[in-house]
């Protein structure tokens, strides 16, 4: 169980939610046409890596979480990790 608080971009606080992170990582995997089972597995493995990093950190920013999640996902699905990193980059 990870009790980290996330500092949002606007300054607000939010409790870390593994389901939310897993869901967004799985969506990134599906967006590169990974089969659903593979997407869920990759997402779960990446979340486990992120949680190891979160241990002992009471507060991190959402940007930190996103960066670490992308770094974790690149191990299992590099294309999905790229999409995950780029998701807010409209340019």
């Amino acid at each position: 169980m990870v009790d980290t608080m996330l500092v949002k971009r606007g300054g607000g606080l939010e409790a870390y939610d593994p389901a939310k992170l897993r869901s967004s990582l799985a969506a990134a995997c599906k967006s590169v046409r990974a089969p659903e089972g593979e997407a869920e597995t990759s997402a779960a493995l990446a979340v486990a890596r992120v949680e190891r990093w979160l241990m002992g950190r009471p507060e991190v920013t959402t940007a930190d979480i996103r960066r670490k999640a992308a770094e974790a996902l690149v191990v299992y699905n590099p294309e999905a990790a790229y999409i995950y990193q780029q998701h807010k980059n409209i340019s």
Partner: protein, 244 residues
Amino acid sequence: MYPLTQPSDLLTIASVVVLAGLLHANFQLAVSVLTRLGAHVLGRNDIRRQHQRHLAKAAAAYAWGNFLMIGLLAAGVTYVLSALVTVPQKPLWVMLSLLGGLTGLAVLLIYRRDGGRRLWIPEALKNYLYERTKRSTTAAESLALGMVTGLAELPFIAAPLLFVAALLRGAPDLNRLAILLLYAAIASAPLFLLAAAMGAGQQISRLERWRESNRRFLQLSSALGLAVLSVYVLSLFGAGSSPW
């Protein structure tokens, strides 16, 4: 005013319109939003057969929305220039050429600073586009997103759009409508091509990586293209001593 009755008139005008349309197509905001839309559509669907259908519908609706907005913008600006702007032809073209040249220069200077990731649109509009992209689940919403993106691109595409509108000044006729549609079709062509590629199963990440690695070239070609087009229209319509 241009009567658009001689083949040579049509050819000259078509050459400017095609070049303006290509420049418009070269700006990447609408393409960027489409790849995000594609990623969100694929990411939220679970049944594989539905993937392609949803993606194809959403991408096509988005491209049509953008086409529609470009057409409406071009028609609206043409109407304003025809009915309300009484500036003689030559001074108008000198002003438009200056605008085109300055826009080209701005593309070079502004984008150079941060590798091309900065947008000219306000942060709030960028966030709005992002949120709408995330929440567009139906074809109608994708169509509306395509239209809003067409509007959001205005700072980038004002110069080529004004060139086309100034060329089409005059009483409405079929030739003008055809040229206007040609411009909208060329300007939105990358979106239809991208929609077809995504619908055919191309990886969005591959398309995005290609765009990322060619970003600088696209910007350079946009800037140089705008400068060339500005000089071209100035030499065609803005030269000479008489204001008409």
